[in-house]
Symmetry: C2
Subunit: 679 residues, 2 copies
């Protein structure tokens, strides 16, 4: 006959007798082009569409195991049919790393035989079915060994004998009971005929738990000095750690700590020329004092930095470092590797430009250079260097201005040797490049949250993040402010706006961060009207902050971080649902923890001036709240407890006091001892 | 350095300097696992997400060409950026066949240079840019030949000279005009540097136009005799052709025409035993008189059949044949190829079963048999045999009970040698197997239309078919009735129900069919209450029909088929939108032909008893209808013309007269000669 079928659903499909198909294996990113993301220790729901022609029964199993170093022996579990050809199973990756999961499906003649037998009525039909079964079990026995084999051989003989028995007591029901015997069926299932199976595999990255739940605090080390005017050091940052840890953060992110270029250095407020004594932008990396693997001398030594990491660890804080792959004009690379930069017709190095804007203090790498391999290898060495100092989290500056292929390679290599290292992508760009970076391996991603302020904007954006296709690969990390973004809503200077944005960030997303102390001290002055830059930005000058100002948001921040840690409903992504309110200024949303049934309802007044009120409408049936009994709405910010009844309840939020409720909802339950209590 | 990056977006990505990425190439089915479907002669919109790191400009082209026999030299056209990293281009496959389309994208330094130059202001910057440009154009010239090369070399020299000119008349604007010169830019674009390109390819099947637009009529040849009691022949069918063609159908589908088995033959109304003289089911194929490549002697000869095809063609009708891959117990295969069937413990062949139901007149093939290759080859031979007789359309019986891999192989092979052959999948099964059959190559598919009767059911189902992911591969062919399905709504026997279902089928889908003459004669009696089978079904006995009954729906059918042919809006899929009405019994939907702007609004009263009325609400702005002027709603069924105004208009449909409007909407236009008319 002609050529064999060109069908590729699995390794064995050159055999035309393979009748099962597997479709839509999930979680998948771009049909397997990229791995989906999961968390070590958290269950991964795997789904596949499995079916075959005709009425025969399938069996489907899920095989999963860790790849690369620390590979585990693959485990296998049964997938169960959910109806409509959907099959599901769940597995929990025990540790960070790369995993492969494989759905394996086949037309199972033993299961088909059982299913048909159950529906047979006539004795003659049942007898014939038992004879068929005797042969099937005999075949199955041949694949078994030891006691399984013996049990199956005995069963087969018994089936054949009973099928032919003339004893009138042996009626159809007796025969069916023997053939459908559960204990022996379990043995037979262990030795199914899988020769005509089909397989579909996907990879998945399991990150450590902090990838999925983190609270970040960003500060400029050089502004951490205890007295004004002095350049802060790592020792000053160490002294600041109890303040940061005390607020409940778990990641302390530092802008670049490398030597800062002197050539074309920018002055205060981004002035084109630095004045004498100006400290320059930390993102203009490199000078005669060193490059990407050096420490800015004014901050201290490498030893000091390692000590800082240790102190932070003792307080439950991780230090996240900035990875800014670009150079100041006096960076050693410029001299040592001129080929890594693009040159202008006059022979000078091409600085960063976005005509008519010029960034003469920054030389970008030329990733199209002939020595791209050398460049990639060096940048990998930089990352490995900081990992060797104890850094396990990197915030990557503008990853969207370096090639996607480079990141995919770099992050893949680092992941293989250090599966506990996390990367946050600082790409504020168009949606598709941002998603690509997340797909190719960034652990977390900055978002548009800063620019999503109305109820409608927030609802649409977080619905997309939490329930759109990106949920398999894009982990949002939301920030109300950054050193580059003082959004105009914050420029109003209202305490209520800062408080509302904090509550939104901390509850809408499992990962969030603030740039402090500007945030808790409510810095609100832009460089000039219409600008999103801070006036007297720390990016270009030293600042000194009075942390114990009585109006600081420190205590609210502390409380929000505690609420986040204590409420399981706020700790995992994927359950966010917006709740109907009848006021455009009042946004409300619910998060749940399905295993425990816990629920947190956050309600925020987006108006920083006026008291707003609204009716909040809950779908009680879906929340398994008894519509006939009261339930408790416990505000975890104010510690007030409200007794609610029915689907619609009234709230009123005065922004001058507190613009938000974070309500733990507790159902009414009657205990064994006949006391009422809330659970 | 370490291993090269494991990135696979195209053949060249082993080179880490490739910065462009292509994502989401469309139309795609399961990420390219299956080809999407298109129609020869109709434009295919191709879309891709293309972007790169940083601010450089991309260029993206679409290459497309026919594969296999009759392959065409690939053509190339520019894709254009739509914003948000979406790029589009369209091509029109000229003939049926398999095509490949490829998006090719690269970071284009010439385009980036132009874009930056446009934004430059300072003379010094422009001069420097011209020097860069001179080098870029010089490089470009090296890739060109002939006059292009000469033109580019001259341009390069001119750019370099002007860049250095000290003539004060040569200011920034003069230099920019020279550098942005359109004619020379066009030449340069022909010789772009594509070395660092990325490519993504997909395949697509273009079918002949009938695949996308067809009206089917099914009849049993044996019931076509002019006088009662006689077994109809192909000659009788030939005499019936003017009747079918006269109603405007273009496909005449015949149930199997092969010899019918005698062994275990079913009797009238599916009786287990046939009475003497019972004609049996045509789907029980094969007897001593022949098998799948033979003609039932009672119908005539192969010669007669070929003549029938010719007569039909003369009247614009194609004959569609049934492909039922199963055997009667006395089919020659059973004797010649016992290995193609499964055997029971007693040595008998396993008949079709769905316990406790038994179909002893049918032996299914065992597609898991050792000789599966022989079986596949023989079934391919059967198809080729009928193609050799002139058949170009097959209606495939129960494809979901044969392996998917088999169909993918068979349909692929037939398509390669006969790209004009169409296959309709008669799979009334679960959604995922039905979709799989469409993906793997069936041209058209039966649907759940028969069981979708309420406004909500119809709206949801057709929205899914027309706008869901299946739109790339699943072509619905909707039938109000089939020999197997007399839906309970038709059992009411109301003429209005038949008329409404006809109008719905003919306008909701570009492909539809009826099983006649039962349909136009409104046969409505089920075999027994609760059954969807016809009483005295033609499946098991001869029937004789009085075609010229005065109550026949023949004239309405004729009109509907004419309306379908004349209205471009009804001829292509993809524009269906449901229209708001304030009555659950009144369904309304609009179809448009974007090139001509033509619109057809169909309104159906689903209540067969009572007159129903409704306000119909149109989005006039979207339809480009002037809200201030009247527009015309011309009922193509009744030929009434209504003058409508504004978004809301009233309709009233008396089912005893006609339960539907099919309204051509015509906008009001003022002509050059100052007459008003409708267009």
């Amino acid at each position: 006959m002609a050529e064999p079928p060109q069908v590729a659903d699995g390794p064995q499909v050159a055999d035309g007798r393979v009748r099962a198909v597997i479709d839509a294996l999930y979680p998948a990113v771009d049909g397997g082009r990229f791995p989906a993301k999961a968390l070590a220790g958290e269950s991964v729901q795997v789904e596949a569409h499995c079916f075959a022609d005709g009425h025969d029964r399938l069996r489907t199993v899920l095989r999963w195991g860790r790849l690369g170093s620390g590979a585990l022996e693959p485990e296998e579990l049964e997938m169960t049919s959910q109806g409509n050809d959907v099959w599901r199973a769940a597995f929990t990756p025990p540790s960070p790393g790369r995993y492969r999961f494989t759905a394996v499906s086949w037309v199972d003649h033993f299961e088909s035989w059982r299913a048909e037998l159950e529906r047979r009525v006539e004795l003659e039909d049942v007898r014939l079915a038992l004879e068929v079964g005797a042969r099937l079990v005999e075949d199955t026995a041949r694949r078994a060994t030891g006691s399984d084999r013996a049990a199956l051989e005995a069963w087969s003989l018994q089936l054949a004998r009973q099928a032919r028995s003339q004893d009138p007591a042996i009626d159809a029901e007796v025969l069916k009971a023997l053939a459908l015997d559960e204990a022996r069926t379990r043995i037979a299932r262990r030795h199914a005929d899988r020769r005509l199976r089909v397989e579909r595999s996907l990879e998945l990255i399991a990150d450590r738990p902090r990838a999925g739940f983190s609270a970040w605090y960003e500060l400029f080390p050089r502004s951490a000095a205890s007295e004004p005017g002095r350049h802060g050091t790592f020792k000053d940052v160490a002294a600041r750690l109890p303040y940061v840890a005390g607020m409940g953060f778990d990641v302390l992110y530092l802008p670049p700590i490398q030597p800062i270029g002197h050539l074309n250095r920018k002055g205060a407020n981004n002035a084109l020329r630095a004045a004498p004594g100006d400290v320059g932008s930390p993102w203009a990396i490199g000078s005669a004092e060193g490059g990407h693997c050096s420490i800015h001398p004014a901050l201290g030594t490498l030893e000091d930095f390692r000590e800082l990491i240790g102190h932070a660890r003792d307080l439950g804080l991780e230090i996240a470092l900035d990875l800014a792959f670009q150079c100041a004009p006096d960076h050693p690379y410029v001299r040592e590797h001129p080929g890594w930069f693009r040159h202008r017709p006059d022979g000078s190095v091409q600085y960063a430009e976005n005509p008519p804007k010029k960034y003469q203090d920054i030389y970008p790498f030329d990733f199209e250079c002939a020595d791209w391999r050398g460049l990639w290898a060096e940048l990998e060495r930089v990352v490995e260097f900081w990992i060797a100092q104890g850094v396990r989290i990197f915030r990557v500056d503008n990853p969207h201005t370096k090639p996607f292929a480079f990141w995919e390679w770099l992050l893949g290599r680092i992941r293989d040797s250090h599966p506990d290292v996390l990367f946050l992508a600082e790409a504020f760009t168009r949606p598709k490049p941002m998603q690509r970076l997340a797909k190719l391996g960034f652990t977390q991603s900055y978002t548009y949250f800063t620019w999503r302020n109305t109820k409608r904007e927030l609802t649409e954006y977080f619905t997309e993040l939490e329930h759109g296709p990106a949920r398999c690969f894009f982990r949002p990390n939301v920030w109300p402010n950054t050193p580059d973004i003082l959004h105009e809503t914050l420029q109003g200077g209202h305490r209520a706006t800062f408080a509302a944005r904090l509550v939104l960030a901390a509850t809408l997303s499992t990962n969030y961060g603030i740039y402090g102390p500007t945030f808790e001290l409510m810095e609100s002055t832009p460089r000039e009207p219409g600008s999103e830059e801070y006036r007297d930005s720390e990016k270009y000058q030293l600042r000194h902050w009075t942390l114990d100002r009585p109006d600081s948001l420190r205590s609210l921040i502390t409380r929000m971080n505690r609420i986040r840690r204590e409420q399981r409903a706020l700790r995992s992504a994927g359950t966010l649902e917006f709740v109907t309110t009848d006021n455009e200024q009042i946004i409300a949303y619910l998060k749940r923890d399905p295993p425990s049934g816990e629920m947190v309802l956050t309600i925020v007044n987006l108006d920083p001036i006026d008291t707003q009120s609204a009716w909040i409408e809950l779908d009680l049936a879906r929340l398994e709240i008894d519509a006939e009994r009261p339930y408790q709405a416990h505000d975890l910010i104010s510690e007030q407890r409200f007794e609610w009844r029915g689907a619609r309840n009234f709230v009123r939020l005065d922004p001058q006091r507190m613009p938000a409720h974070v309500l733990r909802l507790r159902r009414f339950r009657r205990s064994e001892h006949d006391f009422d209590y809330y659970q």
